[in-house]
Symmetry: C2
Subunit: 401 residues, 2 copies
């Protein structure tokens, strides 16, 4: 979701029309920047030749970039004549990525080279409301800036993810979120006024998907599905190399695929949804039945790795159901890669095996055989990293000029 412009398709009347003068100017500036990043320092005459822009246009652009502190000019000689070499001194832009969870908030600061410069996660009470979560994120962000000696002015924006659907038309959290206390609030507005920054909001699974193609191993994969198995189950879709948002921004809701028509009642109001048989919440409930203390997701990981047969059986059943849902996604969208994230991802093959069995059992054969299944290597950072990407991808031209 773009800042202040929820639906860029409809933005024909905005000031950045593709065919307008200002857009033309922006494109020309971007072309000079790209040339400097790709080709290193160059004189204005060389830049003109390399970009195809007139020397007058290059001169104007270089002047404004110099004023913005993006380039320096140093005296040199070119073809025996005195000239100035234009050198891009990068930018010190920092983006914040915020991951709101059911009982935590994580903030990551990273630069445009996709390097994390500061990062911390703190616990929040279960059932906290949005005001508490947003205040905690704002405080954590300020602390990280101070500790890292980072100027607030270098922050170009904040991306944030929450475990629940967001209506891209309104910026509001929709019924069905893992954070029921947040439903109905306009997260975009609230966070923007708390942070005093451009803010970009997305569903957490969507950010996980974005992280896979920006920070992860799959930058060249056109069609990818990221599935987060946690208290809820959601998927983010990368379609033709970009995050897919559908008509209202609520996509990848595989947690509410009907697995058992007369199964348990789901928080979405339906019955027998995938979440009711395969979320970590369901697994914990099943495994805690004869325990004095309820387990958590880390216990599932520990017990499974230790070979506990009950835990493995629960994982088997849940994984098979997830695989069946993934077969449905695959039959519909034929993705190249499906990446599994969430707290169980560290189980690797222990988790992937039952999922793969479910997938191959229910997918059209040629589709199942051609879908690569893997666990995420980004761990619990993936949502916050994806939120950073959301900021840098939102409008790179605007932020570099």
């Amino acid at each position: 979701m773009f800042d202040d412009e929820s639906s860029p398709r409809r933005s024909a009347g905005s000031s950045t029309k593709p065919g307008s003068q200002s857009a033309l100017r922006r494109r020309n500036e971007l072309r000079v920047t790209e040339q400097l990043l790709r080709g290193g320092p160059a004189t204005q005459a060389e830049l003109s030749r390399l970009t195809g822009l007139s020397t007058a246009t290059v001169s104007n652009i270089v002047k404004s970039m110099q004023q913005a502190g993006l380039v320096t000019l140093t005296a040199t000689t070119s073809s025996g004549r005195r000239a100035h070499s234009v050198r891009y001194i990068g930018d010190s832009s920092i983006a914040a990525g915020i991951d709101f969870g059911r009982s935590h908030v994580r903030v990551v600061l990273a630069n445009r080279s996709y390097q994390v410069v500061a990062e911390r996660q703190i616990p929040l009470p279960l059932g906290h409301d949005a005001t508490v979560g947003i205040a905690a994120a704002a405080k954590l962000l300020d602390e990280l800036l101070v500790e890292g000696g980072i100027s607030r002015s270098s922050l170009v924006g904040a991306g944030a993810g929450i475990p629940g659907p967001i209506d891209r038309r309104t910026g509001k959290v929709i019924q069905g979120a893992i954070l029921p206390e947040w439903v109905g609030i306009n997260l975009h507005e609230r966070l923007k006024s708390a942070l005093e920054l451009p803010v970009f909001i997305e569903n957490d699974a969507n950010l996980g998907a974005l992280a896979q193609i920006t920070w992860g191993a799959y930058s060249a994969v056109p069609n990818l599905v990221f599935v987060k198995i946690g208290t809820g189950i959601g998927a983010g879709l990368i379609v033709n190399g970009s995050l897919y948002s559908g008509s209202i921004g609520v996509t990848g809701e595989i947690g509410h695929l009907t697995i058992n028509e007369s199964g348990l009642i789901c928080r979405c109001g339906n019955r027998g949804c995938l979440e009711t048989v395969a979320s970590t919440a369901t697994m914990i409930q099943l495994l805690s039945r004869d325990k004095s203390h309820p387990m958590d997701a880390e216990d599932i990981v520990r017990h499974a790795k230790a070979g506990d047969s009950t835990t493995l059986r629960v994982l088997e059943d849940a994984g098979t159901a997830v695989g069946r849902a993934l077969a449905t996604i695959s039959n519909l969208m034929s993705p190249d890669v499906i990446v599994i994230g969430g707290p169980l991802a560290t189980l690797g093959e222990l988790l992937l095996s039952p999922i793969r069995r479910g997938l191959l059992r229910h997918a059209v054969p040629v589709v199942g055989e051609n879908t690569t299944l893997a666990t995420s290597s980004l761990g619990p950072r993936s949502e916050a990293l994806g939120a950073v990407s959301l900021v840098f991808q939102s409008d790179p031209a605007k932020q570099t000029t």
Copy 2:
């Protein structure tokens, strides 16, 4: 396509420098032309939205194209308002659209203004092999050319659809097709050598989807699903305004979504797939049990319209199951519109009502409520019309210059 990067990079000395006003104007004109060629007739408001150009810019361009005899304007209504539909009439190219069915082949010839100039369908024996089908299509195409007085040299290509998945990597028909005799043949190669034309192959449901956004009422809809309910059930997906092909070209296989884990064996090798409960083949089987002569799809339509309670019950059960599958698509992709095609589409609300009930019952509420459900208005022509669009979309720039 306003990208300046593609070629003029080195053309610093030419008169159409990428940054100049005349180049900008030309790029904008090209963009409107391409949209009309690829997307068919559209109103100026739609053109503005689809190209990202301002309404004023589009208006100026359309005016000059009209003066040059490249477009015609005809009165229409759009969203209840009077408007003019802009239609490109700039060249005499003809494309052939071929629809191979289980027991028919249909050929349509149309020009670049998206007007049908000749059309015919002939029956073929059930179980005919590919050689018979291809020869029949080639003969029909030749007859239509002669009857229409159309020069073969004006044919720019042929598009063809078959009711089955096609592996886009090889051009071969994949196991699971409604035409089992065609599995494994390279339809692309065979048709190309029979017709001596550039050939473009697609699954029939994909062509139905493409027809909806080119010939149908949905030219401005970014995300659309076309569902063909016939002997098999398949879906074509329009994502961000284009036909979506996934990693191997096999997408929208909702006919093989598991509805009943221990249901009937499906031709795909799985059990309880949607097709085993909701295809016209299944309905016919259910309704023919106590009949001396087996029914066909037209009988279902006739009996349902006459109010036959048994037929309506069978439609109710099948429709609800289809709706459940559409809820899954909607939860994943949140399309703006779902269009139902196939021989039952003429039933209108009699078919849509149970489908809508299944959709709303199983979809995440905000998604179900925001998905428009409709029957196709293109009738049995939609696949052949989509095949025509496939040709004109393949490389419009190359074919007009």
